[in-house]
Symmetry: C2
């Protein structure tokens, strides 16, 4: 307990202490990590008096700075949201620890035993926008998977994040794990983000969460390995054999149930021979709940209550009650359209034809391909992972919904009795 005022940590100091914390976390037991998570959940609930004023300061700045009502809403924390955050942390505590899980193993002919086991990455960097809930979510997921976390949140949430990270650090420290297992580098601004993207040897993996622009910037500038959690221009294709009710139920669910998320459908493709049979009902049900239809010419000829689709519409992730609709000649044209405009997140075919179902599953190159199911099922929680780290649209390391296991690497453990290679 020194009486001397400590100099503020430099970014390099912070990265070095993250690395040191990661070494301790790598061999922490599930019991220790769960104790830290339980302490964090308790501290969130007990600290509303510290968190909410800081959050109010961020919101006031946002309002005065003219930020949109949507951004202000994403920024806002209240008691109910704090309760949800604490519950999410306890949910992470209840999951199985991925660290130490054996992926595969064998005994070699010479008697050497090899096994590939899950180990933490080490230090996970996350760059995200002004959503304070991400600060807590990522801290919990990183801790559970044995990783230290270095966080760079949106500047609009800086006061809130500062307090949240302090509370998390106090809670971690209270159970004997390193306080600096979770750190923010918000105070270093854009320069800090730049350094984080180039911190090879200090940061093992970088996860950008947010807009396509944010993700593209991180991918372009980072020399640290990146996991992209991507945008979703998601398609549903109505095959000529599609059941009408099923088609309508799935399209409406995929568009309307939560339009602002990445697994919501943005484009409906329909086979020309079934367009007259399917579109009037499917599109009217969408109109009934306020969806704007952006149709191609053939769609407009069948269903008049629509606006003409522009070329840009086909590549747009609306995240709103809008949907693009196109009539295609056959499965080949549907697959070609998806190839051209999809972000390779999720695509679903509605069909009763086995051959075309299998072709769609095999030939559409997306993280998740579906038959007769709503695209909204692309979700870590729905897949039974228990926690949602994000949905990867890249092909390296993780693809589709990411659970705790995707926040780990592996190491090979080799046990011999003196063997040498001949």
């Amino acid at each position: 307990m020194s009486q001397t005022a400590l100099a503020p940590l430099t970014l390099q100091n912070k990265l070095e202490s993250a690395r040191a914390a990661a070494r301790v976390l790598a061999t922490a037991t599930a019991g220790q990590k769960n104790a830290a998570l339980t302490a964090i959940a308790g501290a969130i609930l007990a600290s509303a008096g510290r968190i909410l004023p800081a959050n109010e300061a961020d919101i006031t700045r946002a309002r005065e700075g003219g930020l949109s009502a949507g951004i202000q809403d994403r920024l806002r924390l209240d008691r109910s949201r704090l309760e949800s955050l604490a519950a999410a942390v306890l949910q992470v505590a209840s999951l199985v620890d991925p660290v130490g899980q054996a992926v595969r193993g064998s005994t070699l002919p010479n008697g050497i035993k090899i096994s590939q086991v899950r180990v933490p990455f080490g230090v996970v960097g996350v760059i995200y926008e002004a959503r304070p809930n991400v600060t807590i979510d990522i801290a919990a997921l990183a801790l559970k998977s044995g990783n230290a976390a270095v966080l760079r949140g949106g500047s609009a949430a800086q006061s809130t994040n500062q307090v949240l990270v302090e509370i998390v650090q106090e809670a971690i420290s209270s159970v004997g794990l390193p306080a600096l297992s979770v750190q923010t580098i918000d105070e270093f601004g854009r320069e800090g983000a730049q350094q984080l993207m180039r911190a090879r040897g200090f940061v093992d993996v970088l996860i950008p969460r947010g807009s396509a622009e944010l993700i593209n910037t991180v991918v372009a500038e980072s020399t640290v390995p990146v996991i992209e959690t991507g945008a979703g221009v998601v398609h549903v294709y109505l095959d000529e054999s599609a059941d009408l009710d099923m088609a309508a139920d799935i399209v409406v669910n995929a568009k309307v149930q939560r339009p602002s998320v990445c697994n919501a459908v943005e484009t409906v493709l329909v086979n020309a021979s079934a367009a007259q049979r399917l579109l009037p009902t499917v599109l009217q049900r969408l109109r009934n709940v306020g969806v704007t239809i952006h149709g191609d010419e053939a769609t407009l000829a069948i269903f008049a209550d629509a606006v003409p689709a522009t070329e840009d519409d086909w590549g747009t992730e609306y995240m709103s009650l809008d949907v693009s609709v196109r009539v295609v000649e056959d499965l080949d044209e549907a697959i070609a359209h998806i190839r051209r405009y999809s972000t390779h997140h999720t695509e679903s075919i509605i069909t009763n034809d086995l051959g075309r179902a299998e072709r769609f599953l095999a030939e559409v190159d997306s993280a998740v391909v579906m038959v007769n199911a709503s695209t909204r099922f692309t979700d870590g929680g729905e897949f039974g992972f228990g926690a949602e780290v994000g949905i990867s649209t890249q092909k390296l390391h993780a693809r589709g919904p990411m659970g705790l296991g995707e926040l780990t690497s592996t190491k090979w453990v080799v046990r011999g009795t003196g063997q040498v290679r001949s």
Copy 2:
């Protein structure tokens, strides 16, 4: 069969045709891919008359350009090496096809069936040095795993690679798969390599193979995801309980059996309390087969037939009959030394103490950690993978020896019967 002379393909043309070929390969059967591999093996043996003159031209240029004897040797193909290459291709044909393998799956409570299956990456880019055998190895591994390959080899091997790729393309085409599944972009020089590193959307993963300098350049400049196959500053730690014969056998094997490869040991650490017992025998056996010992002061005090180690020695991958030797106080100091100087490839402890063995396995953060085994076992062939794509020293996607499975991504296949999310 047009009589018009075709314009040479631009690099962009080549990338687009690789993408188109990848779509065909993605759904090719194992039978088709194995037929292509068998045809390639046959063509290599039948085409010595085309390959060897091109290779001779490269070697002549290398000699006239003053390239080292080592480079000239790596460049050289002869009938015996062609036979080995053909045999390696047939070996790849004999392996199980990774595409379509189910990694995991389950039935959700609502009846939806999900399964995660292996799929090809799509287009694999490889940047490597003047080793024509890599051209054939990578072509075979990429084909077997359903990937198209875009190759950028060292300019010194350009004539050889040109002929090899032509022969591979003819063989692939002869079994009805796309000739442009394997392409070289050597003719575009350094500018071509730059474009390859930035070909997001056309190249799914880029694998640099060669020197640390080459790998670092690709990591720094690439916006395409990279798998690093890295250098090895590999350590063996002789614990105070190490058996003398086992220690000597393993150190000699790890250093001498093939000194020029990445899994050969470069630094031997020894516990101070066992140095007098172990070092004289271990180091004399190394001296007997011509190894130069670079020792710290404590080592030189015990074993005089050595040169003083410099600070640089501890971080050097000798790839020659040289070894660094240091006496450390305890396991903590050994682990700290490894943390500082290791490239996180492979480290082995020689011990009879269970507790220290487990600590070493848990705390050393390398792709492969061993107890009482030669570091030379870090090898895809030894691990039973059947083929060696490389040894990854990164933590994302692949770590340690890479088999065919590491050349694949996954996709989630979701089969419903009309389910929507509530």
